[in-house]
């Protein structure tokens, strides 16, 4: 016996509403931040993860931001709040923060705080979430897990860079990066990747990237350092013995 069409539609609707009831905030949320004089398009992807946690990422096309991980993400039945870590952070005012609340099915609204300024945010659900998983640090070869040092010139002044690589028990390698010029700067490193002879470090907060090849039987890593738009040749030489 064929069930009547109306029954099928009704069952599908019920299933969808139950799914939404279970995870009403999962999905791709598209909208904008209504900054006075500059509407900023915004895409937020949210998805439940294991252990009742949530993960999310964000796209702001006008600012070159794609797949930025959501930090301090808190999702309740009606509210979502998150920060952006170093993305859009202001040195004097801290990280950018979003707080939105469900207004009706498929609609959220709230505010964005950035650099001490506050503007309304409106989001509409437009399909399933496409959360980007941020790349993770790999471990590095034991001979690389040591201290490295190199020199470069910037703005007419010599700078000394010291890099210390260390493997953690879990979560790949971590790096301590210090640049000494007129002053000493500790550079926070988000990402350490070794892929064969290629080593890459990224610091999103400072826009510093180092990429080099391991050479000379792991006595040096030769490559370039990108400081924002600047590209500077840099050879790091092993100082320590390696782990």
């Amino acid at each position: 016996m064929r069930p009547p069409l109306v029954t099928i539609v009704g069952l599908l609707a019920l299933a969808a509403s139950q799914a939404n009831a279970a995870q009403p905030l999962e999905g791709r949320w598209v909208g904008e931040v209504d900054i006075p004089g500059r509407e900023l398009p915004l895409i937020v992807d949210l998805a439940p993860a294991v252990g009742g946690r949530w993960v999310g990422s964000l796209v702001i096309p006008g600012l070159g931001i794609k797949g930025a991980p959501l930090a301090d993400l808190v999702v309740t039945e009606t509210d979502v709040s998150f920060g952006l870590g170093s993305v859009l952070a202001s040195p004097s005012q801290g990280p950018a923060v979003f707080k939105v609340r469900v207004q009706s099915a498929g609609r959220m609204a709230g505010e964005m705080r950035q650099a001490g300024n506050v503007a309304p945010v409106a989001l509409t659900r437009e399909g399933p979430g496409q959360v980007e998983v941020p790349p993770r640090s790999t471990s590095v070869a034991p001979e690389l897990a040591t201290q490295w040092s190199g020199e470069f010139e910037l703005g007419g002044y010599p700078r000394q860079m010291t890099l210390t690589l260390e493997n953690r028990d879990a979560g790949g390698a971590q790096a301590k990066l210090v640049i000494v010029g007129k002053r000493t700067s500790d550079i926070p490193v988000d990402l350490v990747i070794q892929d064969g002879t290629l080593v890459r470090l990224e610091s999103s907060a400072t826009q510093i990237v180092f990429e080099g090849r391991v050479r000379q039987e792991a006595r040096e890593i030769a490559g370039t350092m990108e400081l924002g738009p600047l590209e500077i040749p840099l050879v790091l030489r092993r100082v320590g013995r390696g782990s």
């Binding site: 202001s90 703005g155 924002g228």
Partner: protein
Amino acid sequence: MASRVVAIALAAFSGVAVAQSMFRGDAAHQAVYSTDGPRQFHRVKWTFPTGDQIVSSPVYQNGAIYFGSDDGYVYAVDASDGTQRWKYKTGGPVPATPAVAGGVVYVGSYDGKFYALDATTGKARWKFATDGERRFEAKNLHGMLPKNQTIADPFDVFLSSPVVAQGAVYFGSGDGHLYALDASSGALNWKFKTGDVVHSSPAYADGVVYFGSWDSYFYAVDAKTGAQRWRFQGGEDAAIHNQVGFQSSPAVVDGIVYTGCRDAKLYALDAATGREKWHFDAAASWVITSPAVAQGKVIFGTSDSSLYLVVDAKTGKEIVREQGKAYVFSSPAIAGNTVYGGVLNGTLEARDLASGELLWEFQTDASKRNAGWVLTADRRFNAPLLYPSSWREAPIVATARQFSVGSIFSSPLVVGATVYFGSTDGSLYALE
């Protein structure tokens, strides 16, 4: 009657013009005004709107304020009530400061011409065509991408402002020359070639003209002949051309030339020999402001580090350091015990000369509106929103946005108890 007119004209041209009638007050650019200026902010006396941003600094003579606007006009405005006396249309933006001497207003325009206008009527007396204006430009400038693209510097905002002395008018040009013209006829006396854009405003003292060029050199040239007396080299930056060039204009006081430089230093040079007496290291931050000099102190500001600095004129030793909020391109002006200066976040500041303490500040409406969140809530530039990319036009667009908050490039003029300055919101302000 004719002889009396000649006598007055000769008097005006025979020495240095009076102290409010050219950029930085007088020919030596000391930027010290013979008045006290307001120690407290009372009110906006008047504003005078123009059709585009005002980068030019106002000057004063005989009850009138003279200035240029990027709308292409040179304006004469009544100092007391802000009503327009006349305006004169040039062929391009006028981010230069006029000089007034002998009843004539002298000023250059981006159209590549230099104008002499009747100070009373605004009618042209004569015009002189240079080899043409242009901005400083370079490949990979400030790290802008693509690397092989030559890009005009969006921070090369000023044109050289003329100095009038001994019957001649001197000014720099984007064509790389310093020009000396006969002040009464506009005839070319001589021109001196440098290696790049000259937008520094020349200072004059004791028969010598002092100015800097973007070719990394600072020059002293004989005012009569145009012969080089000496030159001094500042820093160079072959990679991204960021830390090179004299955009600041010099002040000459007691045989010492003080000038800022994009190599992040303020220099004190012996006016006779060009030998460096000392330099102050501004920690990688441009010194675009022209220094003010008074009471044995040199006062200047810095760009990225946003500092207000006072150093000892003899030794260069730091006396006052105040952390500001945004880039300082506006050259400080001293009136009595108060120092006035503009900030690119759209704020005019009044500070105590002795202590550097902020006495009062005035914020333009554009700065208060903060459209597009150009500024943080505490009025610093909101870099993450402004500069998302170094590619193609993005940094240029960002710079234009940055200047949308009523930025004050203009050096304040103090007449009586009133402070005058221009803003990128297009208005000339009179505060008291």
